[in-house]
Symmetry: C2
Subunit: 257 residues, 2 copies
């Protein structure tokens, strides 16, 4: 993306700043933030950045992605160097698709803009790394939010994931406005998967208050789960290695007969 971005000409760069801490944000992402003068994003993500005096932050709520994308594109078209930050990776249930949607639906001029995307470590990779290698074999990522798709589509994808024996990573598992979806997903899976299927929960990965826990599917519950949590449901082969005085390792073997 670097060579596509010319300083002095308006551009929009959608940047993944990784999970939690600065230590997980790539040099490429840090440089892309430094190159911008207008920085858009959800407030808590902007709070993680150290900006220079000439850089302006424009914080917005996390439910107004389309409007935020249009504003950022408008500013880029006006000649500003604009950044849009996402936690984790911008392409996984985050701002990159929202920006593309607006370019697709917007004025022809927006198709001539320099638009770039900088990848980051997405939540499922961060949670997996803290706990072993649960994504060590074929897996899928599903958003449990039914704000942008019907719940029946979520259930269809859970059924497909069961049929394919995929490890499943659940994004947006639960929020104040969506309190029941994760428990409904667990109930749906309990009727279809072995009771001892491994379920792994990671909250606030990469942050000082990070927390990780494991349960069997039969006891899986949304207790303690919020929008900062990533939930992984293992495949048939996913295993737990108990260790003395250490948290267990969860992994999915590479070899599957």
């Amino acid at each position: 993306m670097c060579d596509q971005t010319k300083k002095g000409i308006g551009h929009l760069v959608v940047i993944g700043i990784g999970p939690g801490s600065q230590a997980c944000c790539t040099p490429q992402a840090q440089q892309a933030v430094a190159d911008a003068t207008l920085i858009y994003g959800y407030g808590p993500y902007l709070d993680r950045l150290t900006l220079a005096p000439h850089q302006q932050r424009i914080a917005s709520d996390n439910r107004v992605e389309a409007q935020r994308a249009r504003e950022a594109l408008t500013q880029a078209a006006a000649g500003h160097r604009v950044a849009m930050v996402s936690g984790g990776d911008p392409g996984v249930f985050a701002m990159a698709a929202a920006v593309c949607e607006q370019i697709d639906a917007g004025p022809a001029e927006w198709r001539t803009l320099t638009v770039a995307f900088v990848p980051g470590v997405t939540a499922m990779l961060a949670v997996a790394a803290e706990c072993g290698a649960p994504l060590g074999h074929d897996f899928c990522a599903i958003s449990l939010s039914d704000n942008l798709k019907p719940w029946t589509t979520v259930l269809k994808r859970l059924d497909a994931a069961v049929a394919g024996d995929f490890v499943m990573a659940f994004y947006n598992p639960r929020s104040t406005a969506r309190p029941w979806q994760l428990d409904a997903a667990f109930d749906h899976l309990r009727a279809r998967l072995p009771a001892d299927t491994v379920v792994l929960y990671g909250r606030a990965a990469g942050r000082p208050d990070a927390r990780y826990w494991v349960s069997a599917l039969q006891e899986a519950s949304s207790e303690g789960v919020d929008m900062a949590t990533l939930v992984i449901v293992g495949a048939n082969a996913t295993r737990v290695i108990e260790r003395p005085q250490r948290q267990p390792l969860v992994y999915t073997p590479r070899y599957q007969p």
Copy 2:
């Protein structure tokens, strides 16, 4: 992972150095490499590191993961500070699962070791970022290698991905020893998906010789694809935005009716 790793006591850290360039390697990963004295990995990944004189590199072929993991664990148990590097993320079709397998099968002592995993930007995120937001909605990651699972399992997962209307990211799509699997997967999908399904190819993401191209499923072919290539097959909703004098953007909308 940082607080789990005590200097001076043997440990093994499995590190994702991201795709291609140093700019995509997190500070956490760079620090973890710097903290080690023995660095294991596939030669081309080790070539990307700048090591200090006291650091010893132990390069191995990419088909001897189990042996490499055992050696690294043995050295950590002997008190060495050992790193194992993977390109991309170590938890996605890479060394993290191989290390867990060896701990699971190995001597009890290995369960007492400090073992940590440092996430990285995996290939599908890097390729997606270069091309727009193809992974903007629910997706799955499938290794097309049938070295560690039967080809029938690959086909079962393709069928499940079709049933769930997932975007699919194919790792290990083709190698000299496995020349036919990607074309067989395309043939399998052609009988089940619309002819204009978007297929995206990214080779050597993040490297100076990176190359990206797009085709419709009806013309999809393994030509130009090798082990350094990541292939993404779109869902029904995946779209291409043509742009004047720029490469097209490929994205999957967040909203799906």
